[in-house]
Each structure stands twice: as structure tokens, then as C-alpha cells.
Amino acid sequence: AVSGNLSLYTSQPERDARGTIEAFNALYPNVKVNVFRSGTTEVLNRLRTEIAAGSPRADVLLIADAISMEALKADGRLLRMTHLNTQQIPARYFDNERTYIGTKLISTGLVVNSKAPFKPKSWKDLLNPALKGQIVMPSPLYSGAAAIIVGAWSRTPDLGWPFIEGLKANKAIAVKGNGAVLQQVATGEKMVGVLVDFMAFNAAAKGSPVEFITPKEGLTYVTEPAAILNTASNLPAAQAFVSFLVSPQGQKFSTTLGYFPLQGNITPPAGYPKVESLRFLPMDADALLKGAEADRKRFSDIFGG
């Protein structure tokens, strides 16, 4: 039986992290999961520093975006998870060398305040002068998910960098995190925001005057990948934990937290569209990851900050 201590570093929100561990412990009661939960930046800083000091403490890493995973992989820090059963999971959700694997589907689309003078239907609509000074988005300089959006925009032929420059011209602002975006749109300080799905759905469910809109061109997504460090001290528990995350039980559990599952055969949370109906911007994961650094740079040249 799997037992012992498992050290999990994650950037999941507080509530989710706790729920996930409870669900895992229901299956593996003998594993004590110690969690370090913070912003992606803090989690990675800590891990990095531990590595620099020669003794990384994390067993499992569960963070918002793949870009950072790629960097760790390039450093040879991640274990190949050959034990995983990935039959049910679309290949685009995991690394082809199986060093990391997505655990849920978090899409990014538009969130609109009900008082908005003009409801955008597409990304392009954000350039509409009616929304001048009304747009807020998370900054890719601080948020991994936002980095994916910018990467996807810039590689979509119809949008590209001119679109991002247009956003700036339309006086869009970039803030530090998704929470701040929701805050500004829900309170009506800004009318439109670029936001992850579950925050918008949760807020709407609580009665906030916001609506989640899938842009015509398609959503972007992150998969909240999980990985096992090759220095993991409790390998069996780590493998069990990652297996649990991508297993049907784990996927069903994450829908209760308000996330889309990875597989189409699992019902999404109530009020969410079907997974199959989601349209995505075409993304070349490899190119996106490799170009992330340059994208950030270019974004900061346009947006500053």
C-alpha cells in the first residue's frame, strides 16, 4: 500500500488545494500530503532556490501553466511518468515525453459586465472604440496563463501582434492576476476582461453581474499540469497522486470544484457548456513554449510594466 509523506507544491487556489487532497486521501488514507501553496511565482521561486541549495523538497508539482514545466524539463528535473494510463486523454494535454500532464481544462475567454455598453463577441471586438479604456487583462509578465493567451493571440494569423498593439491603443490595462480582473469587471470599474472560465462562472453563480463569453475565434486554455520531480523522495505516493488527478474519479472531483474535465465523457459542472462545444484558438504548444520568453519581452515593450 502507498503510504508516507508526500510533498506537494501547487499554485491552486486555497479551497481547491484542500479539496483535492481530501479526495486523494479518501483513496489513499495512509499518505500525508504536505502542501506548499502560493502564487505560481512564489512556488517556482521556492523550488528554484531549493534546487540551487542542492536539495529540492517537492515531490509533486501542480502549477498553472506548462511554460515553467518546460524549463524544469529542460533542466532535467522532471521524472518520466511511464506508469500513467493516458488512453482517455487527448494527446495535446500532455508532454509527449510524459514529464508533465494536464489535469484539467482551464479556458480563458471574455468576461463582460452586464452594464457594458457593447458586448464583444470576438477578440477582435476588443478593438472597438466603444470599449476604449474599458478592458482589463492579466499580465503575461506575472501570470503563466496570461502568457499562453498572448502567445496564442500573437500566433493567430487574424490577430497577431497588431491586435495586441491595438489593445494598448484602446487603452487596455494589464493587471497582476486573474483575481484583480474579476474584481474590476464585477464591480464595474472596467466593462470587459480577459479571464479564466471558472472564476467567471463562480461569480455569476453567486449573483455578480458578469457573463462569460467565448470569443468567436476561440478560447485559449491551460491544463494545470502536474509533474513528479526526479528527486522525489516518495515515488509511489507521487505516482499515485498524479494518477489520481487524471483518473476518472479525479476528473469528476475537479468538476465539483468548477473546472472543465479533460475528457469529453465526463460531465462538466452545472451551467457550463459541453466540453466538445468549446472552440479553441489553434495553438502549437511547442512553438508557444519556446517563444514564451520573446513574447513576454515584446509584450512588455508594448504594455510596459
Binding site: P13, E14, N34, S38, N45, T49, E50, A174, L182
Partner: protein, 565 residues
Amino acid sequence: MSGSRAPAQERWLLWLALAFLAVFSLLPAAYLALQMGLALLGPTRQAVLATLMSPDAWRASQHTLEVGLGGATLALIYGLVFALFVSLTPARPRQWLVFAFVVQALLPPQVVALAWTQLWLPLKNTLIAQGWDSWQAISNPLQSREGIILLLGIHYAPLVFLTVRAGLLNLSPEVIEAARVCGASPRSILRRVILPLVLPALVAGGALAFVSCIGNFGIPAFLGIPGDYLVLPTLIYRELSGFGPAAIPSALVLSALVAVLAALGMGVQRVFLRCGSSEVIATRLKVPPFHLGRWQTPVAMGLTLWVSLLLLAPLLALLAKSVSPGLGIALTWANLSLEHYSYVLLHNDATLRAFVNSVSLSVGSALVLAVVSLFLAYQMAYRRNVLLRRLMPWIEVPYVIPGVVLAIAMILLYLKPLPLLGWSFYNTLWIIFFAYLARFLTIQLRPVLSGFMQMPREMLEAAEVFGGSFVSRMWHIVVPLILPSVTAGALLVMLLSLNELTVSALLWATGTETLGVLVFGLEQGGESAAASAVGILSIVITLLCMLLASRLGRRLPEGVLPWRA
């Protein structure tokens, strides 16, 4: 040198104090310095130099200077005017004015920034409702350089206020009266007599405000990132987020830049203090010498309103958010909800742990630092220990560098099991505790040092002559006499460490959450209402502490509690 007659008991205490300094204060500072050197000379040299030479670094340095100078200037003017009004005229209600003015600086800056940005919205909506549609497109004016300077200035004005007020209270009333009987008008007295005399205090307060402004992360992060205005602390954070392999060395070197700027600020103060005359005057300004005539009452009322607004508005905004049913839903008595409180208090065991941890950390570090500062200051001020005096600038390093950098240093130092002992402080409360000890030592030491400076030397010498042993001398004479200054420092340390975020964000582990970490986590997960609830709870605790201190403080001498008039 009089140090040569330090008795044996004191000598081993001196060694203990030195050991404490070495382990908790100098080690992180020296380690950081070493790492900075390595970063500049080692294999990461290219990347570090690239960061250092990058336009962003230049821009951020320039911005840091701007907000430092701007914020300090604003704090200087605002704090000075307020201090002049409160100390030199019969301002009423003086107690409330001073309390509100000083307490606002003790609220966590990011909370204040948040509340302020929220205040913008109702204003804007009102204007739009009046038909000013074009206002819809106007971004929050606080999200700009001017906004950052404004908030920093207001936030740190109490630092200037407190030092200037102390200076004013130490003015001999006769100095002002002498000018009056010479025929000088109040304006001319202010310009030619009072201002030059409080100049040293003013510069000291200004330097402190400057150092605090350039080190502040919360306000520029909240206002500067949307406003496209980067300063060094936010740049360091961004570099670390970017996660290039060179991130840590670059961050170290960038924080060295912050430290250099801070050192410049302190240097200016030293120069000024050397020029300034430091005549000690015994009599105190009891009766306010000036009266604004018919302006007195309106100005007093205006200021009362203004400081009350500054204190209460953020608190109310936070409170409203913590009881609102959801974001963007208009708050009414009917839909007022305590759900967030019940969530953080009843359904999240981390909350309770965080409260316990934060309170233990803050009380613990206040206690330890109080004891340590007592011995350090005794050796520095009374025994005139040269070595300790030389080490003084290093003690400030852990305070002025960004918290995240200090946290990295702590991880690097304490991750591995200790040699010989075989166990590690990592992932325990101890590592956060050690970091707090390093970071807040200077806060605690400063008032104690000045307390020793102000105490007549002969009082301690009498204790030596009549005393039996060092221990009883300390216990019966030195401790009771210096207690007010120690208490003042310890209270500041407690308040600062209770809401500390940037250091503990990297150092906590399961079971060792702190309040700052908890709020940060909730905020990040989009649960800002729950975050506000925790914020309100921690402010309530803070206020309770202050109230308690005030109660106890009635028996303490004047000037111990900064918020008492």
C-alpha cells in the same frame, strides 16, 4: 577606552549579543552580499549584466528614485504641516487627530491601496449617472506615477510627523518667545526660527520615508502594474516570475541597487545631522504658542474630517467587501452576508493556524528582539562598544532589501540540515521566525538606542556604584528605566510582523501559514471577499493590541506610544 572596564559578566553577554548578531543579522546580510558578488563575477555574469543594463532596469531605477523622492517629499510636506498645526496651535481634537494620522500607517499598505482604488469607482459612477458619459473611459487616476506617489506620501507621512513632532516638543518655548518680543511675525518666526531648528528631525524623517518608499512593494504592485509603471521591487518580482535561470542572481543584484539607493538616503541624513546643531533643551513646549485666529476652527475641522476619512474609508471599503454577497452586487442591509466570515473562521482550519502562527511569530520576535536590543544598545550606547557601532549599517540590510530576496537567502542558508545537529529548520516556523529577527532588528534597536542616549549616564553609573551584581543592576535599574523605549520598539515589531507577507510567502509550509499568506492566497484564488474578512479580523486584532497598549501605556512615560498625543 571605558570599554576596557567591562566586567566579566558583561563580557560573556557581549559575546552572546555578538553571536546573535552574527547568526541572525549579519549572516543573511553577508550571505546576500557574497551571492551578489558571485552573481556578478560567476558564470551568470552575462545574464546579470544584461538585466542590469536592460532598459527595464534603468527605467525601474529611475521610477524608484521618482517615487522615492516624490513620496518622501509629499510625506515631508504633509507630515510637517500636520505636525506644525497639531503642535504649535491649539488643535482639537488633538488626541484623535494624532491617533488617526498615525494608525493609518500601521494598516498593511496593499489593503490601503486596494481600498483607495475602490473609492474611485463610486465617484466615477456618480459622475456617469450625472451624464458625464465620457468618464467611463477614464482609468483610475491612482494607477499612475502620481497615484503611487500620493499613496506612498500619505502612507509614510506619519514617519515624518512623529520625528518632527518630537523635535517640536523639544523646542524651548523661550526660543519662540524670544523671537516674538523681537518683533517677528508668526510667519517670520516659522521661516527663520522654527523650521531651521527642526531641520535635523525633518531630514531624519524624510530619509526614513525615502527608504520606506523605495522599498515598498504593495502600493506600486497594486497601482503601478496596471498603470504601466515599474519600480525596482516590482521589477525584481517580475524577474523572479519570468523564471529564467538567471532570475535569482539578477534579483540579488537588483536588490543591491535598492540597498544602494537606501544607503544614499541615509547618507544624506548623516551629512545633515553633522551640520545641524544638537543642543539638548530641557523645557518642553507645553502651551501651543500660535493661534490661527478665525481660521483655527475651520482648519481643525477640515483636518479632522480628512484624517478620519483617510483612516475610516479604507476600513469601511474593506468591511463592505467582506460582508457583500458577491462581487459587483450592490450591498443592502438585506443581502448583507456573514458567509465569508463563517467560511474563514469555521470551514478553514488554516485560518486559525494562521492567526496562532502570526501572533506567536509577532509576539515571539518582539520579545526576543526586545531582550537582544536591550543588551546591544547597552553595549553600544553605554559601554560605547566600537565593534558593535561599526556593525550598525549591516543590521539595516535585511530591512531595506525586498522581502522575497531575504526569503531566498533564508532558504539558501537553512534548507540543508544543520551541520552536527542533523536537522533542518526548513518548513518549520523557525525559519520564518529567524527571518523576522533579521528583518525587524533595526526597527526594535533604533528606539532603544535613542532611549539609552537620552537617559542620563549618571543614572546607570549610580547603579554600578551602588549595585551588587550585573544581573540585579540590569533587572532593577536598567530594564525599568529603558522599558518605555523597548515597548515602543516591540509594539512596532509586533504590528509589522503581524501582517508581514513578502518574506513568509516563500517560507511557509503546511501548518506554518501566516496571516499575510492566507490573505494573499484567498485574494489570488478570486475570493477577495474572504480575504477582506481575514483582513478585517487582523485589523481588529491590531486595534485591540493598540488599545491594550494604550491602557497599559497610561502608566508609561509620555511619548512611548507613538499614536498618543
